[in-house]
């Protein structure tokens, strides 16, 4: 006999409900303004345009960070420093592009130091900062939320120091490609995100790393007694999250072609945590879903775009976002999922009973 789809298991999955939520939001858009979905090709830039493309494009920064955040949360922790690391990454990149405004006083299509340094140094510094978090949490046994609070608070200060409190701008075109260019008709951030998501997914699922993360997140002591080096797992996860924040920072600063120590990556930690939670990973740690997290990030961005597109007053944006997110979270809550799971299994029982009779 062919195996039938188990609807009650599907109803019980949080990822299912993330898909349902996204579909509902888009359905509302379709109903109100069908042109929300139009996609057009712009020959001058060689890029596809449209709201759907833009949603995925603009969700890139959060999606990339949220890949690391998923693992952090699966371990039962949180990383609050990611937003500050975005600012640090941007500040360093711009520092190497302009070095000193008093000498290179007009922004133009040039870079003071080689482009390789512009890309590599920010990433290396973010990796080091991730390692700092990882060290405090694994060896120092600090609570993640406290340990990462340190860099959350002082990261933006470090970014200020790097640029002497100045805001640089640049017009260096290779740098522009990262956030505003296109590859294969698609905006570059989408491609970068796809590569990052694929790389992280392969790293955690094609090696045993993901299982170890889940194992440590569920029961750290039992994992240690099974021979898993829990400290190393924790260290790697926070280091990875630092690295991903660095990538995200490069994309962000390339979009604005500037550094902004105060606003770059502002509240990214909250959006990333939210994306992970909407994606179905529990804050208590354990099983995680990277696909769910990508969906969660896209849902968050869909809401923002929808708000802009429908011209809802900017002051109401936050409240509107909150309402939709509240609905999504309720849809995913244990009682609601169980309710639908029970209903679908009850219906199946009824169908079976009917077939017998």
């Amino acid at each position: 006999m062919k195996k039938k789809l188990d609807f009650s298991a599907i109803a019980r999955s949080k990822v299912t409900w993330a898909v349902v939520a996204e579909a509902l939001i888009l359905l509302v858009c379709l109903f109100v303004r069908p042109e929300f979905f139009s996609i057009s090709y712009q020959p001058s830039t060689g890029m596809l345009y449209g709201n759907l493309i833009d949603i995925i494009n603009r969700s890139s920064e959060i999606t990339i960070i949220a890949m690391g955040m998923t693992l952090v949360i699966a371990l039962g922790g949180t990383d609050l420093s990611v937003g500050a690391l975005v600012a640090v990454s941007g500040a360093i990149a711009l520092k190497f592009l302009r070095w000193d405004v008093t000498i290179y006083n007009t922004p133009g299509d040039y870079t003071v130091y080689s482009f390789a340094l512009v890309l590599i140094v920010p990433l290396v510094v973010c990796i080091l900062m991730g390692m700092f978090n990882g060290f405090l949490i694994s060896k120092g046994e600090m609570q993640p939320i406290i340990a990462t609070l340190i860099l959350m608070v002082c990261g933006r200060g470090i970014a200020q120091i790097i640029t002497n409190g100045k805001q640089f701008t640049t017009q260096y075109s290779p740098f522009r490609v990262i956030g505003q260019g296109s590859i294969l008709y698609l905006p570059t951030p989408i491609i970068i995100t796809a590569v990052v998501v694929a790389a992280v997914a392969i790293f955690v699922r094609k090696t045993a790393f993901g299982t170890f993360v889940e194992s440590v997140g569920i029961n750290r002591k039992a994992s240690r007694l099974s021979g898993i080096n829990a400290q190393r797992i924790i260290f790697i996860v926070f280091t990875l999250t630092g690295f991903l924040s660095g990538i995200s920072g490069l994309i962000y600063s390339s979009r604005i072609m500037s550094n902004d120590s105060n606003n770059a990556g502002l509240n990214f930690e909250m959006d990333a945590i939210l994306a992970v939670v909407i994606g179905g990973t529990s804050m208590t740690g354990g099983k995680f879903s990277l696909v769910g997290t990508v969906l969660g990030s896209i849902i968050i961005r869909t809401i923002v775009n929808l708000v802009y597109y429908f011209g809802i007053a900017a002051e109401a944006t936050m409240a509107f976002k909150a309402i939709i997110i509240a609905v999504v979270i309720v849809l995913q809550s244990e009682p609601v999922r169980n309710y639908f799971a029970k209903r679908s299994s009850a219906r199946r029982e009824a169908v079976k009973g009917g077939a017998k009779a």
């Binding site: 090696t207 045993a208 299982t211 569920i218 007694l225 099974s226």
Partner: protein
């Protein structure tokens, strides 16, 4: 009902999923007596107490308290009736002062504000009653565990308690502190309070109690006046030997000249085990006997590196080995099934397959993953070999019964092909069939040349399976017997004599 019966529990039954935790248990407490409640872990002592304090609901039975039938639904309700409990871990707030701890939640008020003066005064008086002349305005953490224990008792008694339940109150106290606690208990007894005393220290039972009640596997074994029972009888009753007839297993045969696989000499770490030597030959099964808290688990954890030994030397397979963490032990071929499998063994949300593959994978490192084919084969092999009852390998381990969980943990370690297998209470809390299977597996592995270290509280198991038996008491090795010459009586008398010696020192 006799006049002085403060509390009568009749025919108490409690059913937990898959196991009857209490089966028709009777318990009587008189006013002005200290009554010890004894039994091994899982015997049902704490379930009985929780039933009295309203934590667990009973499925059948009656509780009569001071002539009235009661059925407490919550600890608060029980406390309101005058049934107070002091738990093993002092559950007070170390950062609050002594006085605050005593009165938290029921502060005396004056003009709608907390009357700090009255709190301090009353707390001082109360502590004086317990012979504790201390500054009650200091934080609780300033004082020793014993004083903290007194504060907990003071708090429990000050709510007009009629019954005081002390759950393992002496486990972290030294001899003088225990005497201090006993003085307080005698004072309270003289005031007419009924005290239920739970402990694993048998000498303390004989030093302080008037009567005792023994439970085993959820059944009442009996209640005795303290003069009517000897220590040996008591231990025999607690441990029981009703399983003898069910098994028919043969000990492993070990060649005289078999090499030592694990040889620990004088290993120890301060505050745990000070100095112990264990040597296990290839294919040999060594049993660890002794009461709970005698240092069996600590020894096992030290051999495996769960707690690092700071002194002594360790040899594995004839080579000097340094084991700092479980991973080191794993690489050297030592395996360890911990005592508390729920807390330290299973990864509840992962599947049986993932749980079985975990240790092998940990040894290989995450960069060298087992293919899903290898994992499935490994899981299927052990599900079949150990008779793990499950529809498939993808079921979450948390959803299995205790015995099957234990088999999965055993499979996790068997898959690593260990040279030395350390099993800490592998048969506790599982049904008799699974128990027999696990014993059979242990002996089979010995036959294949694995050395097994077997810790159990059930003496008949130890005697049946072990080539040699190490008897632990008070965190020291007190005797080592050959399997052939060991009898239950012999082991019990060694444990009891030890207890007698300790009693002599204390008084």
């Amino acid at each position: 009902m006799p006049e002085n019966n403060l509390l009568e529990m009749r025919q108490i039954e409690i059913q937990f999923p898959g196991v009857k935790a209490l089966d028709k248990v009777d318990f009587t407490l008189r006013a002005g007596e200290i009554h010890s409640l004894l039994g091994e872990n899982g015997a049902g002592k704490s379930t009985l107490i929780k039933c009295l304090t309203g934590v667990n609901r009973m499925d059948a039975g009656t509780i009569t308290f001071m002539g009235n039938s009661i059925r407490p639904q919550s600890p608060q309700e029980a406390m309101g009736m005058g049934i107070s409990t002091v738990y093993q871990e002092v559950n007070l707030c170390p950062n609050l002062t002594v006085a605050e701890n005593i009165f938290v939640g029921r502060q005396p008020m004056k003009h709608g504000q907390i009357n700090w003066k009255a709190i301090t005064k009353r707390a001082q008086e109360l502590m004086a009653r317990f012979h504790q002349d201390i500054d009650v305005s200091r934080p609780l953490s300033y004082y020793s565990t014993a004083v903290q224990q007194m504060v907990a008792i003071a708090r429990a008694v000050d709510v007009q308690a009629k019954i005081l339940i002390l759950d393992e109150p002496t486990s972290s106290l030294d001899d003088n502190e225990v005497q201090l606690l006993f003085d307080v208990m005698r004072d309270l007894k003289a005031e007419g309070m009924g005290i239920i005393f739970i402990t694993h220290f048998l000498d303390q039972v004989f030093a302080i109690s008037d009567r005792l009640t023994i439970l085993r596997n959820g059944h009442l074994v009996g209640s005795y006046d303290i003069g009517d029972i000897t220590k040996v009888e008591l231990v025999t009753q607690m441990v029981g030997k009703d399983m003898d007839t069910i098994f028919n297993l043969k000990r492993a045969s070990v060649a005289e000249d078999a090499p030592y696989m694990l040889n620990a000499s004088h290993i120890g770490s301060p505050g745990q085990i000070e100095d112990i030597s264990v040597a296990v030959k290839k294919g040999e099964l060594i049993g660890f006997a002794g009461l709970l808290g005698s240092g069996r688990t600590e020894t096992a954890e030290m051999l495996f590196g769960a707690h690092r030994a700071t002194s002594g030397e360790l040899e594995v397979d004839g080579k000097k080995a340094e084991i700092k963490k479980p991973y080191d032990a794993l690489v050297k071929g030592i395996a360890f099934c911990p005592e508390d499998r729920k807390r330290d063994g299973i990864i509840s949300d992962l599947s049986i397959r993932e749980n079985i593959a975990l240790a092998v994978q940990a040894r290989k490192g995450f960069l060298h993953p087992l293919s899903s084919k290898e994992q499935n084969e490994m899981a299927d092999k052990y599900i079949k070999a150990l008779g793990i009852a499950t529809p498939d390998a993808e079921k979450k381990i948390g959803e299995l019964s205790g015995g099957n969980q234990q088999k999965v943990i055993l499979a996790r370690w068997m898959a690593t092909d260990p040279k030395v297998l350390i099993l800490d209470e592998p048969t506790r809390g599982i049904d008799i069939g699974a128990k027999a299977e696990i014993q059979r597996l242990m002996l089979e592995m010995c036959g294949e040349g694995v050395s097994v270290v077997f810790i159990s509280s059930e003496l008949d198991e130890i005697i049946r399976c072990s080539n040699r038996i190490i008897i632990m008491r008070d965190r020291e090795k007190v005797a080592e017997l050959n399997g052939d010459e060991a009898t239950q009586e012999k082991i019990l008398s060694i444990i009891a004599e030890g207890a007698k010696a300790a009693g002599g020192e204390a008084s």
